[in-house]
């Protein structure tokens, strides 16, 4: 590592992404550092609270059939406090039992923004790779937790459900999408029965093609195994660090 310039604190800054060597104003943070932090938190908060706009996702999907559903959580406040409601469909949500192999769910989760920014592109990348599978309509789910996919997958009669969901925003990553694969979806599946591909958010995190490759490999293995979860490992090449 080379440290240039006259700032000896650069040694610390170059060593970590942590917010080191911020300086101080008295005992507090200097105004500029304080406002940087505040902005990062504000962006993360907005990612949690800006509602999913289905029109944005539909526009990106360019003709792929979309069905909209919502969970039993009535609003964002209830969603945040009652994860149990976010795992159940609202009464009256109808889904066609088409019996496709794969149910694809795009869920707002804790970052609707992640779905806005990466949802359609990741679905497109996945559809390109799911040639040996029949795929149902894209189910756009709001106030949704991962396990809502179990009920959706079961209602569609799918063999496997892929839930693409906005992950909890961090201070430096408010738009991260995760993919959860659950074989033979039905209500009551445990988290240990799922596989996850996390941190899809190019250019900083995983790219669409890389993520879709991993998911396609996991799907093939799950079909072979007849199961997903802890027993199923991705045997592909090691992922580059996000």
């Amino acid at each position: 590592m080379t440290v240039t310039g006259n700032d000896p604190w650069a040694v610390l800054r170059a060593a970590t992404r942590a917010r080191v060597a911020l300086g101080r104003a008295g005992d507090g943070l200097p105004t500029a550092r304080e406002l940087e932090f505040r902005l990062a938190h504000a962006v993360a908060r907005d990612a949690v609270h800006t509602p999913l706009d289905p029109a944005v996702v539909r526009a990106g999907l360019d003709g792929v059939p979309v069905v909209e559903v919502r969970s039993a959580a009535a609003d964002r406040a209830e969603y945040l406090q009652r994860p149990d409601l976010g795992r159940r469909l609202a009464p009256g949500c109808a889904l066609p039992r088409e019996g496709a192999d794969v149910a694809l769910v795009l869920a707002d989760g804790l970052s609707p923004r992640a779905v806005h920014e990466h949802g359609a592109a990741l679905v497109t990348a996945l559809l390109d790779r799911l040639t040996g599978w029949s795929v149902g309509p894209v189910v756009l789910a709001t106030q949704a937790r991962v396990a809502l996919g179990d009920e959706i997958g079961a209602a569609l009669g799918a063999r496997v459900v892929l839930v693409l969901i906005g992950e909890r925003p961090g201070l430096s990553s408010a738009d991260s999408l995760g993919v959860y694969l659950t074989w033979d979806p039905r209500p009551g599946r445990a988290d240990s029965e799922r596989n996850c591909v996390s941190n899809v958010r190019p250019p900083h995190g995983l790219g669409y093609a890389e993520a879709a490759d991993v998911v396609a490999r996991l799907l093939a293995s799950a079909r072979e195994l007849g199961a997903s979860g802890v027993a199923l490992k991705d045997e592909g090449p090691a992922l580059p660090a996000g």
Binding site: T16, R19, L80, P83, L171
Partner: protein, 471 residues
């Protein structure tokens, strides 16, 4: 099971069990709603508090919220209860006990309050806290004296220590060291330099232990290190002869929740014995460190007690303190806003929970600290954590946790910054642990008033410590 009832304003309120009474009397929080045990109205909550106030403290020795036969935490609580320590308050109701505590606090009678610890059960303390306002929790908390030590002394009056938490997403030694140096230069680290490892591998744990140990030895810092790996990983590190100062473990208030953590009381005892054998202390022999947090049992679906009834999360949190207490810890902290809004929804709930946990822990005899923190999906921000930090400082909290710029880049949540600790110390007239304060002075990191100075990078201390951060 005893049904308890009261009539208020012409309406009768009934509470089906002791756990139901405790839950309904609990100040509002999302986790109890999620568990299905919260009060259904504001009036019902007060009615429960009215009934609870008249309940003899001794009831909790006879009637359990989690059964004795099926839960080893309950057995630990009852089998180690000290009737002699309990004697001064044995005849009081919960309400009378609250009044007595406030009286002793007002008189500055630390001895009477602190001598009770082994005579109190978690359920007694939880019940009492439910009748207290935030200011009551502060007033009594600051008079419950718990002093512990290993290479620094914690919990002395007029002191506020901090855990320096130099986490890194890949445990990179250079990155970790940079955060350690940043914290030391700002007067943090007197409670512990404690790293949450990114993975639980024994080799990684040993490498991090050796890294922090080298920094501590190089600069002769009177503090201790900890890598917050699972206790079984620390046992492996001990077998390999690693420099283990502290055995860490997350613990919860039911046997089922602890099983979920992969922990038994025997494992904790074994690891503690291993660390004690190393004899690494200079001013004390407290070699364990525990973290807890309201909601941990519920999140593991291990929050039920007698007859399968849900127990409120604050009572369960206090039961975790009984586990910690048994192993004579150097440090215990609740992680108060980490677990998410489904357990503590907003700033009001987080502030309340932080004060409750500190009060209850101290009353039970724990060296109680708090990780004052929040996630981005909770209705909490830095204004709320400022409020809680200053209240905790006033309450005599043993230590808080601090990370560079409030941003934990490994665990992805916000805790306090090093400057937040300096602010709390300055505003409230608090100082670091005495041995560490003397070290700061030796390093010329304090100004004439004994406060951590604003550094320039060419100051000798900065140059010396920055040298550690050079790869």
């Amino acid at each position: 099971m005893t049904v308890r009832r009261t009539t208020l304003g012409g309406r009768t309120y009934e509470f089906a069990s002791l756990s139901d009474l405790l839950a309904k009397a609990t100040p509002a929080r999302s986790g109890d709603v999620l568990a299905g045990c919260a009060a259904e109205s504001a009036a019902q909550r007060v009615a429960a508090q009215v009934v609870l106030a008249d309940l003899p403290l001794a009831t909790f020795l006879e009637e359990q919220v989690v059964g004795y036969e099926e839960d080893d935490v309950t057995r630990l609580i009852l089998d180690t209860h000290d009737p002699v320590a309990f004697a001064p308050v044995a005849g009081l109701t919960v309400g009378e006990f609250r009044d007595e505590l406030l009286t002793w606090a007002a008189e500055g009678d630390e001895t009477s309050i602190s001598a009770l610890a082994r005579g109190l059960t978690p359920e007694m303390v939880a019940a009492t806290s439910k009748l207290m306002r935030n200011a009551d929790l502060v007033a009594v908390g600051r008079r419950a004296r718990v002093v512990t030590g290993l290479r620094s002394t914690l919990g002395l009056p007029g002191r506020l220590a901090s855990r320096l938490q130099p986490n890194h997403p890949t445990d990179d030694p250079v990155g970790v060291t940079a955060s350690i140096v940043d914290g030391l230069l700002q007067g943090s680290g007197d409670a512990v330099i404690g790293i949450n490892p990114a993975t639980d591998s024994p080799a990684r744990t040993v490498a991090l232990l050796e890294l922090v140990d080298a920094v501590i030895r190089r600069y002769e810092i009177p503090t201790q290190s900890c890598v917050l790996a699972h206790v079984t990983t620390t046992l492996r590190a001990l077998e390999q002869g690693a420099p283990v100062d502290l055995v860490f473990q997350s613990v919860a208030g039911t046997q089922a929740a602890n099983r979920g953590f992969g922990v038994t009381l025997d494992l904790l005892a074994e690891a503690r014995a291993g660390a004690l054998e190393l004899g690494r202390g200079t001013v004390g022999r407290n070699v364990t460190y525990f973290e807890t947090g309201q909601g941990s049992a519920l999140s593991a679906d291990a929050h039920r007690g007698v007859d399968g009834r849900p127990v409120d999360q604050q009572t369960l949190e206090c039961r975790a303190y009984a586990v910690a207490r048994h192993f004579e810890p150097l440090l215990v902290n609740t992680v108060v806003g980490f677990i998410g809004p489904e357990y503590l929804y907003d700033g009001k709930q987080v502030v309340r929970a932080g004060l409750e946990d500190h009060f209850c822990g101290k009353l039970l005899g724990l060296p109680m600290g708090v990780d004052v923190c929040y996630t981005n999906h909770a209705e909490v921000d830095a204004d709320d954590t400022d409020t809680l930090t200053l209240l905790l400082g006033a309450a005599g909290c043993s230590f808080v946790i601090a990370v560079p710029g409030s941003d934990d880049v490994m665990l992805h949540y916000q805790s306090l910054s090093f400057s937040d600790v300096l602010t709390a110390r300055r505003v409230l007239g608090l100082r670091p642990a005495p041995e560490f304060e003397a070290w700061l002075a030796r390093m010329d990191l304090l100004d004439a008033d004994g406060r951590v100075r604003t550094l320039t990078a060419d100051a000798p201390a900065a140059r010396a410590l920055l040298a550690a951060a050079r790869p």
